[in-house]
């Protein structure tokens, strides 16, 4: 598994969201300029896993965004890892994660 999420981006629309399975995992949301806006996870309390979470994201945001997912049972440690990677790359968290983040992010040195 690569430390960065390398799955292809997909358009955030009803058809693509419906294709997802109800599994647990992590996801990223970006805009058309390839800027990652948010990193989230579908955890053990999510009603329909990644499908449900991405359908919620679509309902909240509307179309015009992209997403990619990674099925992962260790969704919390992977989520924190992706936040650290983003912080290491951009010296900041994704803008929408400022209110949805672990209490302490910590450091990661990418080689």
């Amino acid at each position: 598994m690569s430390i960065r999420m390398e799955k292809p981006w997909q358009s955030l629309d009803a058809t693509n969201a419906k294709k997802l399975l109800g599994q647990l995992g992590v996801y990223q949301i970006s805009n058309d300029a390839d800027e990652i806006l948010y990193i989230g996870f579908a955890g053990g309390r999510s009603l329909f896993g990644l499908r449900g979470i991405l359908q919620d994201e679509l309902a909240k945001r509307g179309e015009g965004f992209r997403f990619r997912v990674e099925i992962n049972q260790q969704y919390l440690s992977r989520w924190e890892e992706l936040l650290k990677v983003h912080k290491a790359d951009h010296n900041a968290l994704p803008p929408e994660n400022n209110d949805h983040r672990p209490r302490r992010i910590g450091q990661l040195s990418l080689s």
């Binding site: 598994m1 430390i3 955890g43 053990g44 309390r45 049972q73 260790q74 969704y75 919390l76 440690s77 992977r78 924190e80 890892e81 650290k84 672990p102 209490r103 302490r104 992010i105 910590g106 450091q107 990661l108 040195s109 080689s111």
Partner: protein, 388 residues
């Protein structure tokens, strides 16, 4: 060994049990099933309660403001504090405080001022960096991280793995080889600041445990001032070994707490769950599982309290701690497994805590010295080191 709890012990145990049931359990109903931290507001509120109970920072020695509990009482409380979903690795989500790194209580005054006291005030966090990719069971010989003296500094190069909390820490204790030919007598403990050039957290090591994850570290020409040596040059292994032995008692107690809660839940469930027109409680195969659980719990509990008792008397307790670690981690795994079986399909869902306990309990047979090494320790004490 007296099996009766003193009035004070009984009161403290009941207090902590009530805290877990009334404060922690309700929060876990809303937290992610794998969560290991509370919101800042909840954490602060619960710390207020534990402070009011006089149990905040209970592990800290009395002279630094701690509760001054003996090992036996502390062990009894550890068995209570782990009785919730996150209890094995995040007992009560840290709301009883943290003693920090035990080795720092033996640090010199300057080191205490810079590292121990800020940790106790909650301003700094530390990590314990011992295990390397070359092996964890025999750390004294497996350590390949090198520290070479250069003027008033030491230059460290090497790697560590399975290090918890290093990514969020402000400093850590790093064990490095300073005398290549001296085996376990050639290892030194350095206090390393994580913002020093050459300190790298290379990755999170994903395991069965989703939170409180481990990390892999790399040191590249990391320069550490000589005043950051903890203890003496080449005296690091004794520091590491002391911690490993001492930690095995609370480590065992936490496993037992989870097992006790799993058994409580199983006993409650068999009294309400019907199959084929009768309660599970009437099925002998189910009763046998509960009996085996009880035997496992009581046996491991006895061994764990015996280790605590010896530690309190100031006697050598290496063998007893090893026995407690083996008994509690193995019994804990069996008890959680049977409780899960009794709960059937529900037992493996994230609606219940068993699946998290099942995953995390598996790690306990490996962590803090694998059980095979504990058996080796016991054998050495029984028949003497010359036969190994």
């Amino acid at each position: 060994m007296d099996l009766d709890l003193s009035d004070e012990q009984r009161m403290l145990v009941e207090q902590v049990r009530r805290f877990v049931r009334q404060e922690i359990d309700p929060l876990e109903a809303d937290l992610d099933p794998d969560a290991s931290e509370l919101t800042a507001e909840d954490h602060e509120r619960l710390v207020g309660i534990t402070t009011g109970m006089g149990l905040y920072q209970m592990d800290v020695p009395e002279e630094f403001g701690g509760a001054g509990l003996d090992v036996m009482t502390r062990t009894l409380l550890a068995m209570e504090m782990s009785q919730h979903r996150a209890g094995l690795y995040a007992p009560c989500y840290g709301t009883f405080g943290s003693m920090g790194l035990a080795q720092l209580y033996d640090a010199n005054d300057d080191q205490k001022e810079r590292y121990l006291l800020p940790t106790l005030r909650g301003e700094k966090r530390g990590f314990f960096g011992l295990t390397e990719p070359s092996g964890g069971s025999d750390p004294a010989r497996a350590i390949q991280t090198r520290a070479v003296k250069d003027g008033d500094e030491w230059v460290i190069n090497g790697q560590k793995i399975f290090i918890s909390g290093a990514d969020r820490a402000d400093f850590g204790l790093v064990f490095a080889r300073t005398s290549p030919d001296k085996g376990r007598a050639g290892v030194t403990c350095f206090i390393v600041d994580t913002d020093m050039p050459g300190f790298h957290v290379r990755r999170i090591v994903h395991t069965l445990r989703s939170t409180h994850y481990a990390t892999e570290l790399q040191f590249e020409d990391l320069r550490v001032p000589a005043e950051n040596i903890l203890g003496r040059v080449d005296g690091g292994f004794a520091i590491a070994n002391e911690r490993l032995t001492r930690n095995r008692i609370p480590y065992a107690a936490a496993c037992l707490g989870v097992a006790m809660r799993a058994q409580d839940m199983a006993v409650a469930y068999v009294k309400v769950r019907e199959t084929f027109g009768d309660l599970l409680a009437t099925r002998q195969t189910v009763q046998n599982m509960l009996i085996d659980n009880e035997l496992d719990i009581r046996t491991a509990r006895w061994l764990t309290l015996a280790a605590a008792h010896k530690a309190d008397k100031g006697e050598a307790f290496r063998t007893e701690a090893a026995m407690a670690k083996i008994a509690a981690t193995e019994a804990g795994g069996r008890v959680v497994d049977r409780a899960m079986q009794i709960h059937g399909g529900y037992g493996v869902t994230k609606d219940f805590p068993f699946e998290r306990w099942f995953r995390e309990m598996r790690i306990r047979r490996i962590g803090e010295g694998p059980n095979e090494i504990q058996r080796l320790i016991i054998a050495r004490d029984l028949i003497g080191g010359a036969f190994h």
